[in-house]
Amino acid sequence: MNKSVQKTNRKSRRMASVKEFWRRFIKNKTALAGFVILCFILFIVIFADVIVPYSKCIEQAGSERLQGPGPAHWFGTDEYGRDLFARVIHGSRYSLIIGVSTSLMALFFGAILGASAGYFGGMVDNIIMRITDVFMCVPPILLSLAVVAALGTNLRNLIIAMTISCVPGNVRLIRSVVLTVADQDYVEAARSYGTGNGRIIFRYVLPNAMGPIIVNTTMCISDMILSAAGLSFIGMGIQPPAPEWGSLLSNAETYLFSAPYLLVFPGIFIILTSLAFNLVGDGLTDALDPKLKD
């Protein structure tokens, strides 16, 4: 009887740690603000078609070109008379998919390669880092350009290309953090009771190296949205007329003085998104670190 009571007690305590994490996360007001903005953007991404039909953002109307924001077109229209509001709403899909998926994939490969390089050292480290160096010395935009040119332009290839250009930086960063953690006593202790390398990396090294990695990944998301814009600008990214925040921004450049709203609205959304991810990332780092309790 007593034992079962104790057991449920344990279980509820494990549940409590999730609750505890949430409590600490929302206690951090800036993180909560970031989370709210993120929910707002996710809402737009999911319900884009409900908010405004896709046809509206490719529909051209010569008579309505370059109109300022008004009741008919909330954000105004671009040089082809397309509704900017519709383009920003639908652009969120492309931008977020690109930003989030490239960053997560880059994080995944970066974590595996960087952690093995830092943890195993020696030969493994040398091989991984020399290959990384080769990739590092090609400018990232040129690298993604080359990959997209070789694979063909579509969303999937764009994501692959941008991931490849983003991984080397992640490998470097994660390796350096792992190096400082890997020779801590608790890693040696883990080895002394027979813990395998995989478990050491995932249960001991990476959790303790998490802070800089999370921050880097959230920064990476906004970076990726912008470099997707760069690729769109030279015609290797999202193909027109499909909207994407970065390309909206780069098209707006021509009308910088005559129609500044073309620049302002997509710009605000990019800033909001990257801000939201950064705030949430910081909040995650703090909430996951038991040392910063309350």
């Binding site: 034992k3 104790q6 057991k7 344990r10 305590r13 409590a16 740690s17 801590q184 006593d185 608790y186 040696e188 202790a189 883990a190 080895r191 002394s192 009771y193 027979g194 813990t195 395998g196 478990r199 249960r203 001991y204 959790p207 303790n208 038991p290 040392k291 309790k293």
Partner: protein, 337 residues
């Protein structure tokens, strides 16, 4: 009865000519050089020496956390140096280590329960979650950790409690042999005694065999059956605990004992024989006695060839050519002061 006696005196750990050299730019650092010792079951071998003499490296090498450069480590007669990965995986749970610094040796992302359960999970000892929980609870009881600390993180606990977690983690697999690498030197004096007594109680209860590494001579006297004194990777003297303190032979041991502070005002004017000079470098050491450079008695003979560990009295070995002449003579006895 005699069978039992035999079993009691059986050596659980026999180390033969163990060497561990680290390759560095200038050559080889002789961290552990030709060390030989036996530890009988249920006994404690204290290893003392100043910082950098290779005590910790010795402890780690004995558990094969470092790859030894040469020699044999016989655990129940099985040579660990030759054991392959699979064999080591089976032996690991039977020998554990308690680390020096309870602040850095516990993963700060895990709770007390998780930390203590890790060895069980890693070695797949328990079948179910509840069995793990039960064993963790029992072990927390054994080492004197309150139940309410189950979900506490190490940074919330004081040094003594953390070290109790370290002890619990080392003992949860029911090991036979435990290397204690300065387990109390990072703790407050008041807590040191608690942990030492805990270790001694547990030794009695669980029949543990300790290799106790420390630089604190009072601690080592308190806990050890036998004491080995190390200097620059070499064992310079080995004897029963009382024998070392009463009749030190090696000049280095004498100097160590003379350096024990004595809380007695009447002894403040007694002239102490203090060592001059620095420890010589352990990198590519010269032949001869490693202590010769600081030894007041050293002559040319000491600087030529290796000095073997010789028995100066039954069960008392010393690596000194002059040992016979010096035995127990001019050292001020700490106890008599």
């Amino acid at each position: 009865m005699s069978d039992r006696l035999n079993e009691n005196s059986e050596s659980i750990m026999q180390v033969r000519n163990l060497k561990k050299y680290f390759k560095i730019n200038r050559g080889y650092l002789h961290a552990v050089d030709d060390v030989t010792f036996d530890i009988p079951r249920g006994k404690t071998l204290g290893v003392v020496g100043e910082s950098g003499c290779g005590k910790s490296t010795l402890g780690r090498t004995v558990l094969r956390l470092n790859e030894p450069t040469g020699g044999e480590i016989l655990f129940h007669g099985q040579d660990l140096v030759k054991a392959d990965k699979r064999e080591m995986k089976q032996i690991r749970p039977r020998m554990q280590m308690i680390f020096q610094d309870p602040y850095s040796s516990l993963n700060g992302r895990m709770t007390t329960a998780q930390l203590i359960a890790e060895p069980l999970i890693v070695n797949k000892v328990c079948r179910s979650r509840s069995e793990i929980d039960e064993r963790v609870d029992n072990m927390m009881d054994t080492v004197g950790l309150a139940k309410r600390l189950v979900m506490a993180y190490p940074h919330e606990l004081d040094g003594g409690r953390r070290q109790r977690i370290g002890v619990a983690r080392a003992l949860i697999l029911n090991p036979e042999f435990v290397v204690c690498d300065e387990p109390v030197s990072a703790l407050d004096v008041s807590i040191q005694a608690q942990i030492l007594n805990l270790l001694m109680d547990l030794q009695e209860q669980m029949g543990l065999t300790y290799m106790f590494i420390t630089h604190n001579l009072s601690v080592v006297k308190h806990i050890s059956d036998r004491i080995m004194v190390m200097y620059l990777g070499r064992c310079v003297e080995e004897a029963d605990a009382d024998e070392i303190f009463d009749h030190p032979c090696h000049p280095y041991t004498k100097a160590l004992l003379a350096a024990i502070p004595i809380p007695d005002i009447s002894s403040q004017h007694v002239r102490r024989e203090l060592l001059q000079g620095e420890v010589t470098s352990p990198v590519n050491p010269k032949p001869g006695c490693r202590f010769a450079a600081r030894c007041p008695y050293a002559d040319d003979a000491c600087r030529q060839g290796d000095i073997p560990l010789k028995e100066v009295a039954p069960g008392h070995k010393a690596a000194c050519l002059k040992a016979a002449g010096l035995s127990g003579a001019d050292v001020r006895q700490p106890e008599q002061a």
